[in-house]
């Protein structure tokens, strides 16, 4: 917990948080802020540059780019968050459970995770959509399943180190239940690690949504998303070379802020709380890097 507090005091983390706050506000109110209907086509003015009527110009169907960017924030962020939420649920809970609830569960979950990690991302998404039907939630669930091993391994590594901590043994001597130990002692230590992973996973899934939309999986046109706009604009590079830069810049800004925040959390870590779990700490880091490399 104190890790998060320390993090919030770092200037770089504050900048990142400010950016993310703006993104959050846009996600909630973007549609209302849009000056024009993001879906309204004006075939007379396609692929126009910035003007008084269209501040950021129009796209290949004559839709207002600014309005689409603003209105698309919500859907982009929401989809990414949905995928990460699914990944957390599928990763953190089994990750903690695999440490605290016996060898059998540990073995099964490890094998399942190993299997998941061998699956190629795009292929799995296409297959999932093929089975579950094409739709936003199906695609995000598929993405969540694929991100879950990241959370699983990071959480498990952290919890594994903590499980042998003496204060956990002390709690066992008090007659504490396993869920008490998880809640009071382990969860607090795992939280910073999970926060770092979440930031990275959010960034990953924002980009993944874009590439899925690019393939026509997930979000259906004409609903605007950053990834969808990026994909659409790329088709008209010859006519409007700078157009993809706008959604790309937004994605990069958000991803960058998330990464900075994640770094700040990680940097705050050794200075404070995880004393006494030194080796576990480095194990977590390594596990974390490996996990990221695998995605």
């Amino acid at each position: 917990m104190s890790v998060l507090r320390t993090t919030a005091r770092a200037p770089i983390a504050r900048t990142a948080l400010a950016v993310l706050a703006v993104v959050a506000v846009l996600a909630l109110t973007g549609g209302l802020l849009a000056p024009l209907d993001p879906l309204a086509q004006d075939t007379a003015r396609i692929l126009q540059g910035p003007s008084g009527a269209h501040l950021l110009g129009t796209d290949y169907l004559g839709r207002d780019v600014l309005s689409r960017l603003l209105a698309g924030t919500g859907l982009s962020v929401l989809t990414a968050a949905e995928a990460v939420a699914a990944a957390m649920l599928l990763g953190v809970v089994p990750g903690l459970a695999s440490v605290r609830f016996g060898a059998a569960l540990s073995w099964i979950s490890l094998r399942a995770v190993d299997a998941l990690m061998t699956l190629p991302f795009t292929l799995f998404a296409i297959a999932a959509v093929g089975v579950l039907g094409n739709g936003l939630h199906q695609a995000m669930l598929a993405l969540g399943v694929l991100l879950a091993p990241l959370f699983f391994r990071v959480t498990r590594a952290a919890a594994l180190g903590l499980d042998r901590a003496q204060y956990v043994e002390a709690a066992e001597l008090m007659g504490a239940s396993r869920s008490w130990i998880l809640r009071v002692h382990i969860w607090r230590k795992v939280l910073p690690t999970v926060a770092v992973t979440t930031a990275h996973a959010l960034a990953t899934s924002l980009l993944a949504v874009s590439s899925l939309t690019f393939l026509g999986i997930g979000v259906q046109p004409p609903a605007p998303t950053w990834g969808g706009m990026l994909a659409g604009d790329l088709g008209f590079l010859a006519q409007q070379p700078w157009a993809p830069a706008l959604p790309a810049a937004l994605i990069m800004l958000t991803v960058g802020a998330l990464n900075l925040l994640a770094d700040a959390v990680r940097d705050a870590e050794p200075a404070d709380a995880v004393r006494g779990a030194g080796p576990a700490d480095t194990a977590v880091r390594k596990e974390h890097r490996d996990g990221l490399a695998a995605v």
Binding site: M1, S2, A165, Q166, Y167, E169, A170, A171, E172, L173, M174, G175, A176, S177, W180, V184, H185, R188, K189, D272, A273, V274, R275, G276
Partner: protein, 336 residues
């Protein structure tokens, strides 16, 4: 400052040992996996209001002894009873219930590792009560009582262990151990990490607590000085065997086992004269048989063919045993 216990079975807090031992260990053997015995054939008692010192070197099994009592080490043979209850037979739910009752407490060696670094002192001390489901208001009151008993400032309640001094951390660990109003406290090297002044602070505290709470206290240490000032009785472990036990004064000043004598003579002193008998005690006997059963024979200056047979703890005077074939005859060599 006194603490009234609400447990009817609590003995009168006179500090005078009562007759029936609170902790009774009989024939205790512990081994990990298929390996050799870490402890073998230990018989040991601790009475209410008494401080029992357990001394031994690294690997002597002294920590394992305490861990076996609280169920953290695998007991392969023997029985451990506390207040008439067989602790070795406890499993699963019964074990958890017994632990929540908190009659037996174990203080880990290093408070920096055994106290959760993220929890404030009030939560650390209150945790055993919270686990046992004691309501928050009662809990808060008992945390304050434990805090006062251990001489901790209330201003420390909201600090985390990282922001306490070594002596304060040790007291927090002690407060956590007594907050459940235990009958038996096992303290593993409670003072080894402290400087002399803080060491004496904590030892005084243990001494006072056993009087005020009628506690049986087992203090484990590798350092004779930590025990000399506070223990009523001392048990000496060597390689998993109890080689000597008896009243502290007697064991320290007239040891009946050569290893106890070596320990006593090795303790550094301010007077710079202790080396006299030490050279003899350090020299292994050339007559020691290679197949000796006695665990100390390979280092013993008095070992001979008799030591092929395992020496059993023999009563030597009141409340005293020594496991040596040559006790007390070997002592005559010392003064030669």
């Amino acid at each position: 400052m006194t603490l009234t216990t609400d447990r009817p079975a609590a003995p009168p807090a006179t500090g005078r040992p009562t007759e029936e031992p609170l902790l009774r260990i009989r024939g205790l053997g512990v081994s990990y996996g298929t390996g050799a015995r870490v402890l073998d054939g230990i018989d040991l008692d601790a009475r209410a209001g008494e401080i029992l010192g357990v001394i031994g070197e690294t690997g002597s099994g002294k920590t394992t002894l305490a861990r076996a009592v609280v169920g953290l080490a695998p007991v392969t043979t023997g029985r451990i009873t506390v207040d008439g209850t067989d602790r070795t037979a406890l499993r699963g739910r019964a074990l958890r219930e017994a632990r929540r009752a908190g009659a037996v407490q174990y203080m880990f060696q290093d408070p920096l590792r055994s106290l959760d670094p993220d929890l404030a002192v009030r939560h650390l001390i209150g945790e055993p009560l919270a686990v046992a489901g004691i309501p928050a208001d009662v809990r808060a009151e008992r945390v304050l009582t434990a805090l006062d008993l251990t001489g901790l400032d209330r201003a420390l309640l909201d600090r985390t262990p990282g922001r306490l001094s070594g002596g304060q951390r040790q007291r927090v660990a002690l407060a956590r151990a007594i907050v459940t109003r235990p009958r038996l406290l096992l303290a593993d090297e409670p003072v080894s990490a402290l400087d002399a002044s803080n060491r004496n602070h904590v030892l005084r505290l243990l001494d006072r607590l056993r009087h005020e709470l009628g506690l049986a206290v087992v203090v484990i240490s590798h350092d004779l000085d930590s025990l000399a000032g506070v223990a009523d009785r001392i048990a000496v472990l060597y390689r998993g065997r109890l080689v000597e036990q008896g009243p502290a004064e007697a064991v320290l000043t007239r040891p009946l086992h050569p290893y106890s004598a070596l320990l006593a003579a090795s303790a550094p002193g301010l007077d710079r004269t202790r080396r006299a008998g030490l050279a003899l005690l350090r020299t292994p006997s050339p007559a020691a048989p290679a197949d000796a059963a006695c665990v100390f024979a390979h280092r013993c200056p008095f070992a001979d063919a008799d030591c092929r047979e395992l020496p059993q703890p023999q009563p030597r005077g009141a409340d005293r045993t020594a496991a040596c074939h040559h006790a007390p005859a070997w002592r005559e060599h010392l003064s030669r």
